[in-house]
């Protein structure tokens, strides 16, 4: 039935005048709630062909890409007026969640007093030739379509580890917390397959976005010549295929409108804990293993400390392995995480942590056997070194995860020194605590003897490691004096501005736990077994405090590692 097909006054007569026995407000509320669907026209009900077809027919390729070609977005910067309809249309036509967008529009500004320059830049996934998201994904949830080159995300395969978000230089994949997975632009591949235009293309009032077929070698060549978009991350990393074209000369002082903003990043708390705990595990095992099997280890040490070392090693190893699962959006599917071993450092890290935990189990078993069969000791120690080595390999994989993201604050050097020093800074007090705890059930060794034999040396080593780490971390503040507003300067500004309280606390915990408390243990009373010395319980308490403060300090350090890292991205809009 069509819209108001009856006499225009028909409604007036059929709509019940307020009945005497019903208050008018009830009548009106009923009318308000009434559905009016039958009054609406059903125009074009059976029309399968899209009415907009004529509008976008020449904005999409006529044929599929041939060999050596793929689909790509092309943006005519001169035509884009900045209305951002593409963003909203993509959202509506793809049924995205309420606050989810797959496209965004940034702003470039520059020029001179006489010739000011303002240019909006619409951007979505660049469907790169060498997608970093795909490379980083531990579960093979990305697929580069062999025919079209479209980089698709397999939503049901995704475990929500979000590593692709770190990997993409263009900040494209978006985490959807409600679903526990990442989603992103798929160039409306199924629309293209039936000759329809992607949502952004069909919704642009100024026809600024189109799909074209690009020659892969040409994309490679242009990336080599750094031809992508001024101020965007360098194209050499992933070889993005989007073509930005403009007939206007772009001014040399062009900057993104958000260039001078330094926004704190997501802090990824599960990752903060996971990294600190795994590094604690590896460090503790390594230091402990060196203590019980190094040339300095005499009989009492080995006998007293080995069992507690083995047991603690098992516990921390398992903690380390399991901590990794917490940052996964869909932990039930975390078993897939080894699929990406060929390219993903995330997969490799998880494998290495698994091996570390496995060796720690074997090592604990071997030590257990060695209690009654001492000839197993060399084998047990060998397993201990293997465990330590696999732990170090795992830390190495962790380093690579961040080093591969091209964030300057996460460079290989910076990340490696941080992560390894965290292993030392936390490993030493744990090892010391294990030794002291070992004295609990062994009469052969006293806590004061431990302190004398190597405890104080460990304290000195710890003070040196913590001092070195804090100094190295502080190096970033030099960037405050940098003239250019580089990513590292932004990091330094964040650390001293928005995140300054966390930064201060980080130093407080580091200095108290890693310098002041170890310094207390350097006193003669620590090695004095006579009654005048420190009580063994006091020694244990100080080391426990030391460890606790250092753990908090390292957690804060790692929090800042994430929150203050500035990710490369496409030009953004002002102060969003």
């Amino acid at each position: 039935m069509s819209y108001l097909s009856q006499d225009p006054h028909g409604d007036c007569q059929t709509a019940a005048p307020p009945r005497r026995n019903r208050p008018l407000v009830d009548v009106l509320l009923d009318e308000q709630r009434a559905t009016a669907v039958e009054r609406f026209a059903q125009r074009r009900a059976e029309l399968g062909e899209p009415l907009l077809g004529d509008y976008y027919r020449d904005l999409i390729p006529l044929s599929k890409p041939g060999p050596g070609e793929q689909y790509a977005f092309e943006v005519d910067l001169d035509a884009c007026s900045g209305c951002k309809a593409c963003v909203a249309a993509c959202h509506s036509l793809n049924g995205l969640d309420e606050d989810e967008i797959w496209r965004n529009v940034g702003l470039l500004v520059g020029g001179t007093e006489e010739r000011p320059f303002v240019q909006h830049v619409t951007t979505a996934c660049h469907h790169c030739l060498d997608p970093a998201c795909l490379e980083g994904c531990p579960v093979l949830a990305y697929e580069k379509d062999a025919d079209t080159g479209i980089v698709r995300h397999l939503d049901d395969q995704c475990i929500g580890c979000q590593y692709c978000i770190f990997m993409c230089p263009y900040d494209v994949p978006r985490y959807n917390p409600a679903k526990g997975i990442v989603r992103k632009c798929d160039m409306c591949h199924d629309r293209l397959a039936v000759g329809e235009a992607p949502a952004c293309v069909q919704s642009c009032p100024s026809r600024a976005i189109r799909i074209r077929t690009v020659n892969i070698q040409q994309v490679v060549d242009e990336s080599e010549a750094n031809q992508f978009l001024p101020t965007a991350p360098e194209p050499g990393i992933t070889l993005p295929t989007t073509v930005y074209k403009s007939a206007r000369p772009l001014p040399r002082n062009l900057l993104p409108a958000d260039y001078f903003s330094a926004n704190r990043q997501h802090s990824h708390l599960p990752l903060v804990f996971m990294l600190v705990l795994t590094q604690l595990s590896v460090g503790a095992f390594l230091v402990s293993q060196l203590l019980v099997s190094g040339p300095w280890a005499h009989q009492e040490i080995a006998a007293t400390v080995r069992p507690s070392h083995a047991l603690a090693g098992l516990v921390v190893g398992l903690i380390g392995m399991n901590a990794a699962v917490f940052h996964v959006g869909r932990p039930k599917r975390a078993y897939r995480a080894l699929l990406g071993l060929r390219t993903s450092w995330m997969s490799r890290e998880i494998l290495a942590l698994g091996v570390f935990a496995g060796f720690a189990c074997l090592h604990a078993a071997a030590i257990g056997i060695a209690v009654s069969r001492p000839d197993w000791l060399p084998a047990a120690d060998g397993l201990g070194y293997l465990t330590a080595a696999s732990g170090l390999a795992a830390v190495g994989c962790s380093v690579m995860i961040y080093a591969k993201t091209h964030r300057p604050y996460w460079s290989a050097g910076r990340t490696a020194t941080r992560f390894l020093l965290t292993a030392v800074v936390l490993g030493v007090p744990v090892a010391l605590l294990i030794s002291l705890a070992g004295c609990l059930w062994s009469q052969a060794l006293s806590t004061h003897a431990v302190m004398r034999d190597y405890g104080q040396a460990l304290c000195l080593a710890l003070m040196a490691a913590v001092g070195a780490k804090l100094l190295i971390e502080s190096a970033i503040f030099v960037r405050l004096r940098q003239r250019q507003f580089s990513p590292l300067k932004r990091t330094a500004l964040l650390l001293t501005g928005e995140l300054s309280m966390t930064t201060l606390l980080r130093y407080f915990f580091g200095i108290v736990g890693g310098v002041l408390l170890p310094w207390v243990l350097l006193a003669g009373e620590a090695t004095d077994a006579s009654g005048a010395g420190f009580h063994p319980l006091f020694l244990g308490l100080v080391v426990t405090f030391m460890l606790a403060l250092l753990v908090v300090g390292e957690l804060l350090e790692r929090y800042l590692f994430f929150a203050a890292s500035v990710a490369p991205k496409m030009p953004g809009a002002p102060a969003t």
Binding site: L4, L51, S92, R191, P574, A575
Partner: protein, 743 residues
């Protein structure tokens, strides 16, 4: 280098890689029928229907996708003659903002502790009538006033104006349209004899020269910019704007004049056109009056003088004049840069004069064309019963009163003999204790009115403030003594009139939350409780009002007696007025004045002019910068009561207020990019983020109007003819946060 493409699915079988599943299915698309192409499978429509968008006056057709009678999605209507399948982000997100946690679901009354508490409609209506009637008893009937809007359908505006004035005895009512297009109304009325924007959007596509004055079309009316982009004639685009806006960037000539020097510039252009003989003398003679006086007036506006006043080099002025001369179809367009000015009426008329003296009117691709602001500002202009008696009539004219009384079937004595006060006078009336009760419907004066701190203080003086709105959280609603929850766009029926005089239909496609009622139903309820429902007995549904308004328009320039009803509007893609009885013109693009006949008695247009006046509060030693305000982005609408409710739109504009400042000024004031700064005028001070950009000239700063603090700075001054506030010229100083701004 050699390219190694990514490892493909060869490596892992389907067992380890899950290509399908519940998460994948959530985003599947499927053919949507209805000519839509693919749509999200979860939102496949079983019916669709088109309604006019409820934001701006472009009046796009939005095709709403329905499931079981409820709206689930929308796409711009491809066959609607306005937008041809396109929409701006606000349109795309029009349904989203209906679902918001702060939608009013029940009337709220301020209790003795000062908090708003829920009551039912019966209590609310009794209180409404009791308090307003009490005020009227004590202070006279004119002590209660109302403020309406350009956002309501015509039928609701007419009901509000009729109910208040004929039923409740209210004398003074005005709309927020005073803030957006009052200037154009007066300019047209005086020049053409009726408030008649003469154009159709098709003119954007047919011009060879397009002149945009004070209009950032790209952001304010993106779909009209689309029409410019569709122009096949490679038009010259002249943009007159102090700022380098997106539109100015896209122009072929950007005249970046000193703020408020547009009158000098336009007179300067007229001077050159006349001096060079680049006018259509025949047209001037046959269709205008006042040319000689006008020519004498602009004789003083020599290029040298104009250069001094505007900063535009005389060569560029001459080039612009020559461009207008060379154009065969020149169209002139203006928006808020002109309207929101203390000399806006004369500025608009200076634009009209250019069109008239060059004969660029009444033909395709020409015209002196005001682009309106709100979706139904044009309906308000004709039918809100505020400035004009229903249908563009005059309250002071006894014949008009008799005609309307006859159409409505009411006692002619109920119709006031005098005009309403304008918005600013109503606010002043509150200050002077002349107005004690105020009914605010669908507008947000506590944010949008000029010199906000004073305005808010004045609103505090009211004995009883009623706010009727979709949201109970607007800056004005939170100050209300009584809040009435209204259904919004998409939750009720009616018609809008867009900028090109096109009447289009809005429909109920979504359920209003809780006890919220359409404004139409609320007016019925008020009439019932007030005891005047007999006057409006025939208005049971919005379309009943439409039928009445048709009769009101009979014989007027805006005669729409030839439009049968909503159904024909729905089927035809809207109808442009005039559409008198017997008209069967199916042409989707109609313009006025093809015959050169204007609405004055002599059929001639008036050339009106006046000397430019200086900015009342120019930058000075203490406040060295001139503050411009205006639209920030295409994703923001006015005071953001709606657009802030969409998560998508929120991602498309800066979340905090920002001030655009020129790099040289930022250097001088020691302002770092993106740092927080203080902007201070004589009336208020705000904190904003600095956006350092060349797009504002030195000595000027720009703050978008959408952030609620902006009008703390603006100075209340008005166009003397239209009473429209002049939002875009007040003096401010600016300093980094933590420093006291120095002059």
């Amino acid at each position: 280098m050699s390219m190694q493409l990514a490892p493909s699915r060869v490596m892992a079988g389907p067992f380890v890689r899950q290509w399908h599943g519940p998460l994948t299915e959530e985003l599947l698309r499927a053919p949507g029928r209805f000519g839509l192409g693919q749509v999200p499978r979860s939102k496949m429509p079983d019916a669709t229907t088109t309604l006019v968008c409820g934001y701006c006056s472009t009046g796009c057709g939005l095709n709403v996708h329905l499931q079981q009678g409820e709206a689930v999605n929308l796409t711009p209507d491809v066959e609607y003659p306005v937008n041809l399948g396109m929409a701006c982000p606000k349109g795309w997100e029009a349904l989203t903002v209906l679902d918001a946690p702060d939608r009013g679901t029940t009337p709220l009354v301020r209790n003795e502790q000062g908090t708003l508490v829920a009551v039912d409609w019966d209590q609310a209506m009794r209180l409404f009538c009791q308090r307003f009637q009490d005020i009227q008893r004590r202070h006279g009937r004119e002590s209660v006033a109302f403020l309406g809007t350009g956002q309501l359908p015509t039928e609701e505006q007419a009901f509000l104006g009729s109910l208040a004035k004929f039923g409740m005895g209210v004398l003074h009512g005005d709309g927020n349209t005073r803030q957006c297009m009052a200037t154009s109304v007066v300019a047209y009325k005086q020049a053409f004899g009726f408030d008649a924007p003469p154009y159709t959007y098709q003119d954007f596509e047919e011009s060879d020269v397009i002149v945009l004055v004070g209009s950032n079309l790209c952001l304010a009316h993106p779909i009209l910019w689309q029409r410019v982009c569709r122009n096949p004639h490679n038009p010259e685009i002249i943009v007159v704007d102090p700022r380098t806006t997106e539109t100015a960037m896209a122009a072929t000539q950007h005249l970046s004049l000193a703020p408020k020097s547009d009158l000098d510039l336009l007179y300067g252009l007229a001077h050159l056109l006349i001096q060079e003989g680049w006018i259509d003398a025949d047209y001037v003679k046959r269709h205008t009056t006042g040319f000689d006086a006008f020519a004498a007036h602009v004789a003083a506006f020599t290029p040298e003088c104009v250069e001094q006043a505007t900063g535009i080099p005389k060569e560029r002025l001459h080039y612009a004049a020559r461009t207008i001369h060379k154009g065969e179809r020149v169209s002139f367009w203006w928006t808020m840069g002109v309207n929101q000015s203390y000399q806006g009426v004369r500025t608009a008329q200076a634009i009209i004069n250019l069109a008239l003296i060059t004969g660029n009117i009444g033909r395709p691709g020409t015209g002196a064309n005001s682009i309106t602001g709100q979706c139904n500002a044009m309906g308000s202009r004709l039918f809100s019963n505020t400035t004009n008696l229903l249908g563009g009539h005059d309250f002071k004219n006894p014949e008009h009163r008799a005609k309307i009384a006859d159409v409505l079937g009411i006692d002619v004595a109920l119709i006031p003999h005098q005009d309403s006060w304008a918005y600013d006078r109503i606010i002043e009336g509150i200050l002077r204790d002349e107005i004690k009760g105020l009914w605010v419907v669908c507008t947000n004066p506590a944010h949008s009115w000029i010199n906000q701190n004073t305005c808010r203080e004045i609103l505090e003086k009211l004995e009883f403030l009623v706010v009727q709105d979709m949201y109970h959280t607007t800056d004005t609603a939170v100050r209300a003594d009584l809040y009435l929850p209204a259904a919004g766009w998409g939750e009720k029926d009616g018609t809008f009139i867009n900028s090109e005089r096109r009447i289009g239909v809005v429909k109920k496609v979504a359920k209003a939350p809780g006890q919220a009622l359409s404004d139409f139903a609320i007016f019925r309820l008020v009439a019932h409780y007030w005891g005047c429902e007999d006057l409006f007995a025939r208005w049971q549904q919005p379309e009943d009002v439409f039928q009445t308004l048709k009769q009101c328009s009979r014989g007027q320039s805006c005669d729409i007696t030839g439009i049968d009803g909503y159904q024909i509007l729905d089927e035809s893609g809207g109808r442009q007025w005039p559409y008198p009885h017997g008209c069967d013109d199916a042409e989707p693009h109609r313009r006025l004045f093809a015959d050169g006949k204007f609405f004055h008695e002599d059929g001639k247009a008036r050339l009106l002019f006046e000397d430019p006046r200086p900015i009342p509060e120019p930058p000075n030693g203490n406040y060295p910068y001139l503050l411009l305000t205006g639209r920030g982005s295409a994703s923001q609408w006015h005071t953001q009561t709606r657009t802030s409710k969409s998560a998508v739109l929120r991602k498309l504009y800066p979340s905090v207020v920002y001030v655009e400042i020129n790099p040289s000024d930022a250097r001088r004031e020691g302002i770092q990019p993106n740092s927080r700064v203080i902007v201070q005028s004589q009336r208020g001070r705000i904190t904003a983020k600095a956006f350092v950009t060349h797009s504002v000239r030195p000595g000027q700063v720009f703050v978008p109007m959408h952030y609620d603090c902006v009008n703390q700075l603006t100075q209340a001054h008005f166009d003397p003819y239209s009473r429209q506030p002049s939002y875009k010229d007040c003096a401010v100083r600016i300093a980094p946060l933590g420093q006291t701004p120095q002059g």
